[in-house]
């Protein structure tokens, strides 16, 4: 009977393909796609002309530029220092290593508003760090630089946690082999280790970046939220909503979505290409 039911399609060894795929698609649709498509529906109420007008508004463009720019800069900073941190955690054994390891996850767990308030207090001109920087003429709080600082904070674990396991996987023999061939430590790292880390590093960068683009809570306290200076796109969306301009908010959201999706897709394509080239990740 069971065989008759399977006539036409060969039976699979791994069971439940139809069921699991069905649930996956339904879940993804319900949780991700339907809410996101509402953005399109809302924005669609504006018509093309209305949408274009909002998209071309200098304040919108500036907010988008600040959000994407600060997120990219913060993710880049995290890519460098997150890799360094992962390196230290993987390669060396020192007292307190586990504590450092646990500290890395704190930005995941802390309510972002708490992080934002403490950062704002620290970097304000009369704060501990802000006070030190003020005589040097460096202003962090209430500038785009402050947004970057907040995004570095929330993005750090993404880079460390993606790079760390890959770094641990790299065979010490690969580095020894580079050394035996005469490569200096720097050459060994740049030409041998870094290319192996590249996919994980890119994933970490992408995740930190994506998180940074959408980050709200930790940013708004330190940013100062000055239109055309330090106003981020998510905040602008909230402002529009408070003005009961749902369609305008949706239009900005749609722009963010499109840009974020294009960037993530591009990064994913680079990774797929790398994986094909190198073989198993």
């Amino acid at each position: 009977m069971a065989q008759a039911a399977h006539r036409g399609t060969p039976p699979r060894v791994i069971p439940g393909f139809g069921l699991t795929l069905g649930v996956t698609l339904a879940y993804l649709g319900l949780v991700v796609l339907v809410p996101l498509s509402m953005v399109g529906v809302e924005a669609g109420g504006l018509g093309w002309a209305g949408f274009a007008a909002i998209a071309a508004e200098p304040r919108t463009l500036h907010a988008l530029a600040v959000s994407f720019g600060a997120a990219a800069a913060a993710a880049a900073v995290n890519a460098v220092f997150g890799t360094l941190l992962a390196w230290v955690l993987v390669r060396y054994r020192f007292p307190g290593r586990r504590i450092v390891d646990a500290l890395v996850d704190l930005p995941f767990a802390l309510p972002t508003a708490v992080a934002g308030i403490s950062l704002a207090a620290l970097y304000a001109p009369n704060g501990w760090i802000g006070g030190l920087l003020a005589p040097l003429g460096v202003k962090v709080a209430y500038t785009p630089l402050g947004i970057g600082v907040a995004l570095v904070f929330v993005g750090l674990p993404f880079v460390v946690r993606t790079v760390q396991p890959v770094l641990a996987e790299i065979d010490a023999e690969v580095e020894e082999s580079a050394a035996a061939l005469g490569a200096t430590r720097a050459q060994g790292f740049v030409r041998v280790v870094l290319p192996l880390l590249a996919p994980a590093l890119l994933t970490g960068f992408t995740m930190a970046f994506a998180r940074g683009v959408g980050e709200y809570g930790s940013v708004i306290f330190i940013a100062g939220n000055i239109p055309m200076v330090s106003e981020i796109a998510p905040l602008l969306i909230v402002i529009r909503l408070e003005e009961y301009r749902t369609d305008a908010a949706a239009a900005i959201a749609a722009l963010m979505l499109a840009a974020a999706f294009a960037l993530l897709l591009a990064l994913n394509c680079i990774q797929a290409w790398h994986r094909r080239r190198v073989g198993a990740p």
């Binding site: 035996a180 061939l181 005469g182 030409r191 041998v192 290319p195």
Partner: protein
């Protein structure tokens, strides 16, 4: 290049293995195997020669110059790792050219020359045409040869190979073995390789160094090693061997209360006699030659000969005797047959 190792010691490396006063010399152009059971320290010794492990004391001389404290980067050794340790993100050609491309600007050949050298080496290891593949697209045997070409590219003074055929299947292993010997004879590099496979060591190497528990037991040609083993360990380690714990008494050897029928007088003071399986003849009862009476407990075919497990009537462990397959075919043995095990030759320690 000639290598002299003097009193080299290391009290436990990262893997918990030690080296204990190793002394040996390797002549220029020689092919030497480091043979030993796993955990014996043979890989540690190889890594110490390369500069990947730092010994606690002793000297390593390359052509008379002590390099024991010299960094691996400055030793100019070609090292082939057991895992091959190829650079996955580079093509085969880039892998082979790596050693030349990381040289300081003053001594680095131009790009075109590096590429030409890499292609030449790939021809030498019979991988021409695969220059643009990545290591992931190669078979195990091909990866092994890329690793070898990469090590040869820097024109090393010595070529060091760690279990070079360890990860390959039996057939490829045999093929590569002959091929490596051939390559060695053509390029003339002083070569040291580590193996736990005695057949590989005896077949391939000019001389074999047997390492056990961090000590050098003996370094000798395969024929000497097999014919005149210096220590009981080598006797037991090479081939299948029967060991008799005896008391020597006026040229006789008493084993389990009986005098062992030996082809020659037992040297005074001997405590242990070793008889290889092919030196123990299985005879039918009633034959003229004296031997140890017993019965056949197992018959195992092993390629060109048959191994008989003989239970001696005097007790003790099972004795192993080898019978050439042609003799076996004309006079087959089966389980339960009465047999006399006659000792044709022995070594006493």
């Amino acid at each position: 290049m000639r290598i002299d190792i003097c009193n080299l010691s290391k009290a436990f490396d990262s893997a918990g293995r030690a080296l204990n006063g190793i002394d040996m010399s390797i002549a220029d152009g020689e092919l030497v195997a480091l043979l030993g059971p796993s955990g014996s320290g043979k890989t540690t010794l190889l890594r110490a020669i390369a500069g990947l492990e730092t010994p606690d004391s002793g000297e390593i001389l390359f052509d008379g110059e002590n390099v024991a404290s010299r960094d691996v980067r400055d030793r100019n050794v070609g090292f082939v790792f057991q895992s091959y340790a190829l650079f996955k993100t580079m093509t085969v050609q880039e892998n082979v050219g790596f050693g030349l491309s990381v040289r300081p600007r003053a001594t680095r050949p131009p790009k075109a020359e590096i590429a030409a050298r890499a292609r030449e080496l790939l021809r030498l290891v019979q991988l021409d045409g695969l220059e643009d593949r990545t290591p992931a697209q190669l078979s195990g045997g091909q990866r092994q040869r890329v690793a070898l070409a990469r090590a040869l590219a820097i024109d090393p003074g010595v070529l060091l190979l760690d279990e070079p055929f360890g990860a390959l299947d039996a057939k490829v292993r045999k093929e590569l073995r002959g091929w490596l010997r051939d390559l060695h004879d053509r390029t003339g590099h002083t070569t040291v390789f580590v193996t736990h496979d005695q057949e590989e060591a005896l077949e391939l190497a000019d001389r074999v160094a047997v390492i056990n528990r961090g000590r050098l037991e003996q370094i000798a040609t395969p024929a000497e090693l097999y014919g005149a083993p210096a220590t009981p360990f080598i006797c037991e380690f090479l081939g299948s061997v029967n060991a008799f714990d005896v008391t020597a008494e006026g040229g006789r050897a008493l084993w389990r209360g009986h005098a062992l029928p030996l082809p020659a007088p037992c040297p005074a003071g001997a405590a242990r006699l070793f008889v290889r399986a092919h030196e123990l003849a299985a005879l039918r009862p009633g034959s003229a030659q004296p031997g140890i009476p017993g019965s056949v407990e197992g018959v195992r075919l092993s390629g060109s000969h048959v191994r008989l497990d003989i239970r001696a009537a005097w007790g003790g462990p099972l004795l192993e005797a080898e019978v050439p397959i042609l003799d076996f075919d004309s006079h087959p043995w089966k389980r339960g047959d009465a047999a006399v095990a006659a000792i044709l030759a022995f070594r006493a320690f």
